[in-house]
């Protein structure tokens, strides 16, 4: 037997501790198993109730597959929608379902009515309790902005979450169609979608044959962040007759300014809700080393586009139209005389004012 020197008083406490330990262990186990596993049991009773409801003659829900391949059961009548991203809020309003929007995020500022809706916090970090408290029939989320964890947590407690994932202008239009289907608003979705498609093909017709402009889309200036090839913004630029000089696989690549100086883009594109502020920022950039070596900045070949370009919603087509006009003014000139190959200078173009 090993000899251990210990004070007597603690010896008795030690012996007692062993008993306490087992008793306490049992108590904790009981508590934890009840708390951790009692809750899923609660959820199960709810599912059974829902299932028995399904046996009625009229279906209470339809099954949809969302844009990231998840199966979503959406009630046949959607009266309360919570949107977790500004572009989804815009789509809901464009579909004429704004009255059914029960809540949106702090960043939902278009249309103006969107700002009057109850807020659930930011799109990346929404308050789940607030979402649940709004008792939504459907939650809309988008992969590029919302976190996977948010979607999973809401789905786990039984809320139908439809996730969109647009990577192009056509994808955006498809999202409008999908959400139209999910909300049973096909009647408003169909003419909206047709209108968007027609406007796009109109742009295609006008700029057909024009040489694509080599542009730098500036997401952020310090550090310089631009767009990757897989983003809907890159596609919007393509539809407007331009090509991003940055060809990265990352969605929002941080770009080396040296590389941009070497590539010398023809036009710099800035997106902003406040063109005046952006103009001021651009004036500051002209004095910066690196930036001042950019031919486009010196010549003032700059387009300030509304922030609609940043949101895959119907207004994206407005942005494409504005960009196309800015990039290829001759193609849009009355009579369409494309004879003059004159280089354009669009300092604070029409869309900026």
């Amino acid at each position: 037997m090993k000899f251990k020197t210990r004070p007597r008083a603690s010896d008795s406490a030690n012996a007692g501790c062993a008993k306490t330990r087992t008793a306490a262990l049992r108590l904790w186990l009981a508590l934890f198993s009840w708390l951790l596993f009692g809750i899923p049991a609660l959820a199960q009773t709810q599912t059974v109730n829902a299932a028995s409801g399904l046996q009625d003659a009229a279906p209470v829900s339809h099954s949809f597959t969302d844009e990231i391949g998840r199966k979503v059961e959406v009630p046949t009548v959607v009266k309360r929608i919570v949107s977790l991203a500004p572009n989804l809020t815009e789509i809901v309003f464009a579909l004429g379902e704004g009255d059914h929007l029960a809540g949106d995020t702090d960043f939902c500022d278009y249309p103006a009515e969107a700002t009057q809706k109850p807020r659930v916090g930011g799109p990346i970090n929404p308050n789940l309790e607030q979402v649940v408290a709004l008792a939504p029939d459907l939650v809309l989320a988008t992969k590029a902005i919302n976190r996977r964890e948010t979607v999973e947590a809401l789905a786990r407690i039984g809320l139908p979450v439809f996730v969109t994932d647009p990577h192009s202008v056509d994808d955006m239009i498809a999202s409008v169609e999908h959400i139209g289907n999910v909300l049973h608003a096909e009647k408003t979705a169909a003419p909206l979608v047709e209108d968007l498609r027609e406007r796009l093909s109109n742009i295609d017709r006008r700029i057909a044959g024009a040489l694509p402009r080599r542009v730098l889309f500036v997401v952020w200036t310090e550090p310089l962040i631009s767009i990757g090839r897989g983003t809907f913004i890159a596609d919007a630029l393509r539809r407007a007759g331009a090509r991003s000089v940055v060809d990265a696989s990352a969605e929002w690549p941080r770009v080396n300014l040296e590389e941009i100086v070497r590539l010398q883009p023809e036009v710099l594109v800035f997106a902003s809700a406040h063109a005046g502020d952006t103009q001021h920022d651009i004036d500051m950039l002209r004095a910066r080393p690196g930036w001042r070596s950019l031919e486009a900045l010196r010549r003032g070949n700059i387009v300030i586009i509304s922030d609609a370009i940043n949101r895959p919603a119907p207004r994206l087509v407005d942005a494409v139209e504005q960009l196309a006009r800015a990039f290829h003014p001759d193609s849009f000139a009355r009579g369409g005389s494309r004879a003059t190959p004159a280089y354009f200078a669009v300092e604070a173009c029409a869309c900026a004012r």
Binding site: F3, N14, T20, P40, I124, N125, Q130
Partner: protein, 339 residues
């Protein structure tokens, strides 16, 4: 300080458990969506007698599917971090030891990120990777902290700080280099985040791992008391130091790994709580370990309640809450130790 008796141990832990329960009720009550206390008590009663189906749906979802799992996760994480902090302090004979400061949390973070990248579909790999990351880091810090065969307090802390910053650099590298993967959630997770519940299949692993880890450390409580006087002294008093080291380092790494893989790097709890417990109930590890577990749970539940309510409906990272309280205390302890 009076000698520890079984009666005092039970009374202290019982009282702390009551405080924890009170904090749980408070935390269940507070949140972005207001709920009255009477309603809460009434409904808790209904659930207890098995009439949960009579609850209104939103209410059931908010209180029982969102708040309660979050509070339970907070309890698990708080207990795990505090007990591992307390045992690191004894093993390293350093009052400033804490899984966050020693870089063990960052090691667990790197481990779990790497694990998720290697096998994203296999849910068990995250806590496993976190555990391996934690134990590798503590081993590295332990050897960095040795000088002429003895643990040197300053060298140890420096080793921990260096490891933590090295590992944070790896995390930043992984997060910017691996652009194809969806690592946006990782940013929030790194700041300490309890809003994401544990994956359904892993709840058992977490509660059993936590109880096993704390239990294993508790079996060495009397040895830890002796180890505080010095490693050589403890050997002379009959402590099997190698066994104690093995048990405590493995268990503390397990606890840190579980806590980090569930909630990210929540700092300073492992430092702050054991010190508060020492001031309140004395330095005896047989009381310090269970009391730290309970107080750590209380601390995290309160910190997370603050994080949920201060700027509601926007949520603040719970790690920011604990760091705001913990960093000044760290400086205070450091300065007091210098004198």
């Amino acid at each position: 300080m009076r000698p520890l008796t079984l009666k005092r141990l039970l009374w202290t832990c019982g009282a702390l458990a009551v405080v924890l329960l009170a904090c749980m009720v408070l935390a269940l009550n507070l949140g972005a969506v207001p709920i009255s206390v009477t309603d809460l008590v009434l409904n808790l009663g209904r659930v207890a007698i098995g009439q949960s189906d009579q609850l209104p749906t939103e209410y059931r979802l908010i209180v029982f599917d969102l708040r309660l799992p979050r509070i339970l996760l907070g309890i698990l994480v708080g207990a795990a971090l505090s007990v591992s902090g307390a045992s690191f302090q004894a093993m390293l004979r350093n009052p400033l030891a804490d899984p966050f400061i020693l870089g063990v949390s960052s090691g667990a973070a790197v481990g779990s990120i790497l694990a998720t990248l290697i096998a994203p579909r296999f849910t068990l790999i995250t806590p496993l990777g976190a555990f391996l990351g934690a134990i590798t880091t503590i081993a590295a810090v332990y050897f960095l902290g040795r000088r002429e065969g003895e643990l040197d307090s300053t060298t140890l802390l420096l080793g921990g700080v260096i490891s933590a910053s090295f590992l944070s650099a790896i995390v930043m590298f992984l997060m910017t280099a691996l652009t194809g993967r969806d690592l946006r959630g990782t940013v929030f997770w790194l700041m300490g985040d309890l809003s994401t519940p544990i994956q359904p299949g892993l709840q058992w692993i977490f509660s059993v791992g936590l109880l096993a880890g704390i239990g294993a450390i508790y079996t060495t409580a009397a040895d830890l008391n002796l180890l505080l006087t010095g490693e050589r002294e403890a050997i002379h008093l009959g402590v099997d130091v190698t066994r104690v080291k093995l048990v405590v380092y493995v268990s503390a790494s397990l606890l840190t790994g579980l806590a980090v893989s569930a909630s990210g790097t929540i700092g300073y709890v492992g430092l702050l709580v054991p010190h508060a417990v020492r001031l309140l109930f004395g330095p005896d590890y047989r009381l310090l370990i269970p009391a730290s577990a309970l107080c750590g749970a209380i601390a995290i539940v309160l910190a997370d309640t603050l994080a949920r309510t201060v700027a509601a409906p926007t949520e603040l990272p719970v790690g920011a809450m604990t760091a705001m309280a913990g960093a000044p205390l760290f400086i205070y302890l450091l300065r007091r130790g210098m004198r």
